[in-house]
């Protein structure tokens, strides 16, 4: 009743308006609604609309795919023009490029932005998972799926380095970020940019060659304060698990293998027999794993005035992983603040405080996977057995983590602060100082009591570790921008210094009177072993960048950076990394013929050098290892030389050529970019095997050369664009070809390390399986005269009648032919459905679950069930069940290509009218499913995992809400 009288009390008004882009172009198919009201109107092709509103002071809400939603208070006006800012990556957006930002249309290098939609509704613990398949040339691989979600590798444009790290540099709010990326709260991230080519990454000099990921955290916008609450909760289940043998299957397998299925009793130990006779079989994997549960809650307050902007957010993340006891908790608080103090002076801070708890030693999936099912997980009283198989005490209980005391807490403050001043007398000249501090400490304590094998043999074993990180970065940046006539210049000069310091103190103690005080009793230990580690590295850098722009048509960027780093050898402390890039905005030419059909074309080219300084502190010094002896019963400290000094050691250098184009068709309804690159990396940091006669078997040297060549294509298209229904597609594909150009300067391959000139860094190289020897084959006159029927047959490649190392060859490719991502987003009224498919094609890998000697000589481990050759089942794919069947341990290769439905998200925006009634401004509800479907011919755990015994990939089902007040 009150509602009706309120409506009656207001004066209905008809409003006319126009919706335009920032550039003033009309925006069609935008939806214009009244905040808190019903109905709405679309804009027509001229961007115009007419809408009846209940009151002249109502607020309009204008939304459109590809643009930020905007609220416009009418304040009595009846004609309005609404300008929308683009959200998606369009050529007009501003992008962060390192030491500043640029209009995308002015960017000359290859800088990819992650579509902000990719960061939304993403219930992941690690922002890297948002990069999967989202940016061409950025390859994210998962190596496991623990609770923390840190089993992720990011490689940009292929591997440059053979031994050195290929991890990109991560920069958060301008400050290089070291350590665990899972300590960054993804909900606080506003944007992610990836610098891929030399022109873009050369400004990071000796750290740029693996690419750079720039993360910018959120900031409030001018307007009244907004409170947002975002939360999700979900469950994780093992996506795929091959059948691991049960007790009876294992018994048959063991007997077949050892005794040809005869006289089985004699092959089993008493424990195995007892279990078998009692019909007991232990599903170790089942005991070690559970359904994972994860939830996150974020509460933020943001807003601002023209002078002050702020974003304050607190969050809680709680993950219980699929392995029992695999827990991860993170609490974080972020304060981002920006204050315009005077016209000419601005200062700000972006600060995150976090508390991360990684405590709990998980049950071991891989140990459980291999554990004999005919052994005992529990004692009669229900406690865990220390050694489940008393006759083979080598095996600890895979579940022992559940009774280990394990505490692991990290506290961290990561703060990036700046002060920016316009300098007097010279118009366009400004000075900025950035000061970043990263302070983190981590406390770990672990205790193995007498209820574990480790603790039982040591009478209790305790390890405590405290580590302390203190990093600082100080940057002085001068910037000068000036336009005259059609010329624009933008000059940036940097002088910076950085120090990273990590100190670790540990204490290992053993032999305690009892287990009561866990790791808090080193004072009564029989053995106390302190340890101490220290690492400090420093850097000093100078960088200059010049951007020149003629009439928005011709763009030039020239950069150079000089880095001095303490980690380099004494003879090479400094390196210089120059680059140049050119771009031509062809569509800004007066003669441009494309019209609206082909409205944008920019051509880019860049060439430059960047480095990889992956040398750890003190690595260049001649070092000794501890090798102590005794004087009677006392320690006699001893040392022997272990590492040769390398005063000439320096950075790896990557020289990269990049040619690309950005384009837009149909008024940017279809837009995208294309890049071709060739990167050559020289002075590789290689661990060169040297003659063991030196007494040391390897030395790190700058030798060798690699090359990565590739193309990348990214397309974004708005396929259907109707007020009630829209469909957009994001597609990207990348091809990278990697090869070694040189190793030791003498054209020789390194067979020991499987490095071959002209081939990729990673290859499958070995004997080629040629089926299985069958009964009736002429084995005696073959290259394997001693083989038995059922043995692995190896191809005698050179036909010399014997199998020797000369018969090894390349098998398939470990480098994908291509990888691609496809996202389709459908919107029907208030529903949005988004599906992301990710594929990697053309990889061949050996499946280690098929290896023939996984179970050890006396069948001491379990494995997956599979078919074996027998005289009655003369298959040609897998040998007989016998240790001798594959004497050269030939691996079994499979196609590891896959297509995966990585994410599906269904979201519903609750009508404002309803939300308002609940006291909210907006309410969004969503459900996502992750890794729901995979198509692959791979028979192991998962084609993506390096090790097929790692914790398997998870299917994740999550529901979440986003509320604004």
């Amino acid at each position: 009743m009150f509602g009706i009288s309120a409506e009656l009390g207001a004066q209905q008004v008809t409003v006319h308006g126009k919706v335009v882009s920032e550039a003033g172009e009309p925006v069609s198919s935008a939806i214009v609604r009244v905040a808190g009201g019903k109905g709405g109107a679309p804009t027509d092709s001229a961007g115009e609309f007419t809408l009846t509103v209940p009151d002249a002071n109502a607020t309009l809400v204008v939304s459109r795919i590809g643009f930020e939603q905007r609220e416009v208070p009418l304040a009595g006006q009846q004609t309005v023009t609404v300008r929308l800012k683009p959200t998606a990556v369009t050529l007009d957006a501003t992008v962060v490029v390192g030491y500043g930002s640029q209009k995308r249309s002015d960017v000359t290098g290859s800088v990819a932005s992650v579509n902000p939609d990719k960061l939304r509704d993403k219930p992941t613990t690690n922002f890297a998972q948002s990069l999967e398949g989202a940016v061409p040339g950025v390859n994210v691989t998962t190596t496991g799926s623990n609770a923390e979600g840190n089993d992720v590798n990011i490689i940009i444009r292929g591997r440059n380095s053979i031994k050195a790290s290929n991890d990109p540099l991560v920069v958060v709010d301008g400050i290089p970020y070291e350590g665990s990326i899972t300590e960054i709260n993804q909900a606080d991230i506003q944007s992610i940019q990836v610098l891929k080519d030399a022109s873009a990454s050369a400004i990071y000099g000796s750290r740029g060659s693996n690419g750079v990921i720039l993360i910018t955290t959120k900031m409030g916008a001018t307007g009244k304060p907004r409170i947002s609450y975002n939360a999700y909760a979900g469950v994780q289940k093992i996506a795929h698990l091959p059948h691991v043998m049960t007790g009876p299957e294992f018994a048959q397998f063991k007997c077949d293998r050892i005794n040809d299925g005869q006289n089985c009793e004699s092959v089993f130990t008493q424990t195995e027999l007892d279990n078998l006779n009692a019909g007991k079989s232990t599903d170790w994997v089942g005991l070690a794993m559970r359904t994972g549960v994860q939830q996150q809650h974020n509460l933020s307050l943001s807003g601002g005035t023209d002078q002050t902007k702020y974003y304050i957010a607190g969050s809680l993340l709680d993950v219980q992983g699929m392995a029992k006891n695999d827990d991860f908790k993170r609490y974080s608080l972020r304060v981002n603040l920006r204050q315009q103090y005077k016209d000419w002076l601005e200062l700000g801070t972006n600060t995150q405080m976090s508390l991360t708890n990684r405590g709990g030693m998980p049950a071991s999936f891989s140990d459980a996977f291999f554990m004999n099912p005919l052994t005992n997980p529990y004692n009669a009283d229900g406690t865990l057995t220390v050694r489940p198989w008393p006759e083979d005490p080598f095996w600890d209980n895979p579940l022992q983590g559940l009774v280990v005391t394990d505490d692991d807490e990290s506290r961290r403050v990561f703060t990036s602060n700046y002060l920016q001043a316009k300098l007097p007398f010279v118009n366009g000249l400004s000075y900025r100082v950035n000061a970043g501090i990263d302070f983190a400490d981590r406390q770990q304590g672990r205790y193995f009591g007498r209820n574990t094998a480790t603790g039982l043999s040591a009478l209790g074993s305790a390890t405590t570790t405290n580590s302390n990180r203190f990093d600082w970065t100080l940057e002085n940046i001068l910037r000068y921008t000036h336009s005259f006539g059609k010329h624009g210049i933008d000059v940036t000069a940097l002088y910076s210094a950085q120090q990273n310091k990590l100190e670790t103190q540990g204490l290992h103690s053993e032999g305690f009177p009892n287990d009561v005080l866990t790791y808090h009793q080193a004072d009564v230990a029989q053995l106390v072993q302190p340890s101490d580690d220290y690492s400090k590295s420093t850097m000093v850098s100078q960088m200059g960048r010049l951007n020149y722009n003629y009439d928005d048509r011709y763009l030039v960027t020239v950069t150079a950076r000089r880095d001095g780093a303490s980690v380099f050898g004494a003879n090479h402390k400094y390196g210089t990394f120059p680059s140049v890039a050119l771009a031509w905005n062809a569509s800004n030419e007066s003669f441009w013929w494309g019209g609206k059909a082909f409205n944008t074309l920019k051509l880019r080219a860049s060439y430059g050098k960047s480095g990889n300084q992956a040398i750890s502190p003190y690595q260049t010094l001649s070092r000794l290892q501890e090798d102590s002896y005794l004087n009677g019963q006392q320690t006699a400290p001893g040392y022997i030389p272990s590492t040769l000094g390398t005063p000439d050691l320096k950075w790896e250098t990557t020289t990269q050529l990049n040619v690309g184009a950005d384009f837009g068709f149909l008024g940017d309804r279809l837009q995208g970019s294309f890049d071709f690159y060739r990167a050559r990396t020289s002075d590789l940091l290689l661990d060169r095997a040297i003659s063991p006669v030196h007494g040391i078997t390897k030395i790190t040297q700058n030798i060798g050369k690699t090359q990565n060549t590739g193309i990348e294509l990214q397309l974004t298209s708005l396929n259907i664009d109707h007020p009630d229904f829209s469909w957009s597609t994001d597609f990207n594909i990348a091809l990278n070809r990697n090869k070694i150009l040189d190793l030791y300067g003498n054209g020789q391959n390194d067979i020991l390390n499987k490095w071959f000139i002209g081939h990729p860094i990673d290859v499958n190289y070995g004997y080629l399986m040629d089926g299985i020897w069958q009964e009736g084959d002429d084995i005696a006159n073959s290259a394997q005269p001693t083989a038995q029927p059922g043995d692995v047959r190896i191809r005698d490649l050179n036909g010399d009648g014997k199998i020797d190392p000369l018969d090894r060859t390349f098998i398939g490719s470990l480098q994908p032919d291509y990888s691609a991502g496809l996202t389709n987003t459908f919107r029907y009224k208030r529903f949005t459905l988004s599906a992301f498919l990710n594929t990697v094609q053309g990889i061949t890998r050996s499946n280690d679950l098929l290896s023939t000697n996984l179970v050890y000589t006396e069948v001491r481990r379990n494995t997956i069930e599979h078919q074996y050759w027998t005289p009655d089942n003369p298959i040609n794919t897998y040998p007989r069940n016998n240790e001798e069947a594959n004497p050269l341990s030939v691996p079994f290769y499979e196609d590891a290509s896959f297509i995966r439905l990585r994410d599906v998200t269904l979201a519903y925006d609750v009508p404002e009218s309803f939300a308002t009634r609940l006291g909210m401004q907006s309410l969004r509800v969503y459900f996502t499913g992750r890794n729901l479907w995979t198509h692959t011919n791979w028979t192991g755990l998962d084609p993506e995992l390096d090790s097929q015994r790692a914790e398997p990939l998870a299917k994740v089902f999550t529901g979440g809400i986003n509320v604004e007040f």
Partner: protein, 559 residues
């Protein structure tokens, strides 16, 4: 009693007892940081950054701060002893694949009972014996690593800035040169001619053209090193693990046998025997003296091994200690004690030696080599039966304490009822089924010096002297005396097996006397049929040949 007494032993941290050569103190580091910051805000004063980029680790030992005074050199020597001790530990410094395997099985008196990869090579030979065998690279790398450590000491000891007495300096060099010769002894027995590396390796001069030095020149270097050690090592040491003069003399005697100079060999062996410092153990002594046993075995019991514990026979004792940094570990018991716990009704017990995996085993021939009454073949020296001790697991019809007799008629793989030597019996009170042994072990005994003496005397044609020498050994073990007419090289090798079963390096003695092929074929039915002339010398590890890209390194013939 003070409170510190209640807290149990405290261990010293692993530092040498002297100030490390720290280029910058902590206070000056802070000052440098501040200076760095000052420079930075001042913009562009590049000169400021020179010190800022210099590395000065406060926490690790680098070459330039260790070899600066006598304490540093003592620490470097300790490293050498810790290295040598690894002969009885596993490959790649692990608790598996004991490094002695290639030296002690695949010979007349030793074979691999449970064939996992390394033992298999020395049972099956043939194609399994190739340049890719991990054990070879493991041995090679360990020996040259020790040589480089010794070379570093020998070279850097000549630095005139070190303040020490000439005597200390020469003793330090003597220990290092001894260790170097000891490593080349291993290398030449295993591979014949090998590269002779006598200088500290440097990162700036990586050699890719190593050449194998002729055996004569390696022997000449070993002789020089051992003679220097003989002249400069002390006669005795308070530190029970140190090498002394007699050890150098013993190895000189052995070297002269290899160099076909039996007169010199005899003189060196006599020097040890007649020094008045050593005598064979002939009466019961030490920690187990009141238990049934024989004098011969007392010297192997932890607590009896060192000279200051009453052992007059030991020349070089290897030191181990549980739960002490630097305490090391041996896996001799793990590798020699058999898997008797696989016999139903018998479980692991300290009196049975502790838990072993029996991968190394004496041949039936070696077990049958003892005359009745010879202490070295007695039940105190060789495990020949067990008593049922597992009440939960008795076979039907058996009682606790009933005897399980072992049999050793024919070698067959995976025989858990095969006898084993008791020399390495040891059980941890803390972890009764642990892998490692932390009891001290004799490495070199006077008994072996007698055997070298007999060998020298035989080579010189002094058969009566040789018989006398052997009789001294035999008398101690209650074996019957022999006469000059009994002395042949085969008899000396038989005696050596009786005395040193599982000790020393059996393969080396057989190679030195050119008897390996003949005797292994005769007495080792597992390996005998598989070995050929080629196998008298091992293949150079492939990694060594592959890394020598500057010059071809010849492989031994037949590989």
């Amino acid at each position: 009693m003070s409170s510190s007494d209640l807290q149990g032993p405290r261990r010293a941290p692993l530092t040498t007892d002297r100030h490390r050569n720290e280029p910058m103190t902590r206070r000056s580091l802070t000052r440098a940081t501040l200076l760095g910051l000052a420079c930075l805000t001042g913009l562009g004063l590049a000169g400021c950054s020179k010190d800022f980029l210099t590395e000065s680790p406060p926490h690790i030992i680098v070459a330039d701060n260790l070899y600066t005074d006598s304490a540093g050199f003592e620490a470097a020597l300790n490293g050498l002893y810790a290295q040598a001790r690894k002969e009885r530990y596993g490959q790649d410094n692990s608790g598996n694949d004991i490094l002695t395997t290639p030296m002690t099985i695949g010979v007349d008196n030793g074979w691999g009972n449970y064939v996992s990869t390394p033992e298999r090579v020395f049972d099956e030979w043939g194609t399994r014996n190739n340049s890719q065998v991990d054990a070879y690279l493991g041995l090679w790398t360990w020996l040259y690593q020790t040589i480089n450590a010794a070379n570093t000491i020998i070279g850097r000891a000549e630095n005139p800035d070190i303040e020490w007495s000439e005597q200390t300096k020469n003793r330090v060099i003597a220990e290092a040169r001894f260790m170097r010769a000891w490593c080349y002894r291993h290398l030449t027995y295993l591979w014949g001619p090998v590269p002779l590396n006598l200088t500290e390796s440097s990162g700036e001069t990586i050699k890719t053209d190593w050449q194998r030095a002729p055996l004569d020149s390696v022997y000449a270097q070993m002789e020089q090193d051992l003679l220097f050690a003989e002249a400069n090592l002390p006669e005795t040491s308070d530190d029970p693990g140190k090498v002394v003069k007699a050890v150098a003399q013993h190895y000189l005697a052995e070297l002269y046998l290899r160099m076909n100079q039996p007169d010199k060999a005899e003189a060196e062996a006599q020097a040890v025997i007649n020094s008045g410092l050593y005598s064979l153990i002939t009466t019961r002594y030490g920690v187990n003296a009141s238990q049934p046993g024989v004098p011969f075995m007392d010297q192997f019991v932890d607590g009896n091994v060192n000279r200051d514990q009453g052992n007059t026979e030991v020349l070089w004792a290897w030191q181990y200690q549980e739960l002490v940094p630097g305490g090391g570990a041996s896996i001799m018991r793990r590798y020699w004690v058999n898997r008797y716990y696989n016999i139903k009704g018998v479980k692991v017990a300290p009196e049975y030696g502790g838990r072993g995996i029996g991968r190394l085993a004496p041949t039936a021939w070696a077990l049958n080599l003892y005359e009745p009454g010879d202490d070295r073949g007695s039940i105190y020296a060789i495990r020949k039966f067990y008593l049922y001790n597992d009440p939960d697991n008795l076979p039907t019809g058996k009682q606790l304490g009933d005897t399980v007799f072992l049999s050793w008629t024919a070698e067959k793989n995976s025989s858990s009822k095969w006898p084993s030597t008791r020399k390495w019996d040891w059980t941890s009170a803390i972890d009764p089924i642990g892998n490692e042994t932390y009891g001290d072990e004799p490495y070199l005994r006077l008994a072996e010096t007698y055997l070298l003496l007999a060998e020298a005397q035989f080579d010189e044609g002094k058969l009566a002297d040789a018989a006398n020498t052997l009789n001294i050994l035999r008398a101690r073990a209650n074996a019957s005396p022999i006469t000059a007419s009994d002395v042949t090289i085969d008899f000396i090798l038989d005696e050596r097996s009786r005395e040193l079963l599982s000790e020393g390096e059996r393969r080396y003695a057989l190679l030195r006397t050119h008897k390996w092929l003949e005797r292994t074929r005769l007495y080792n039915p597992i390996a005998g049929p598989n070995i050929t002339e080629r196998d008298t010398i091992f293949p150079i590890p492939q990694a060594v040949i592959d890394a020598n890209i500057g010059a071809a390194m010849a492989q031994n013939p037949g590989y």
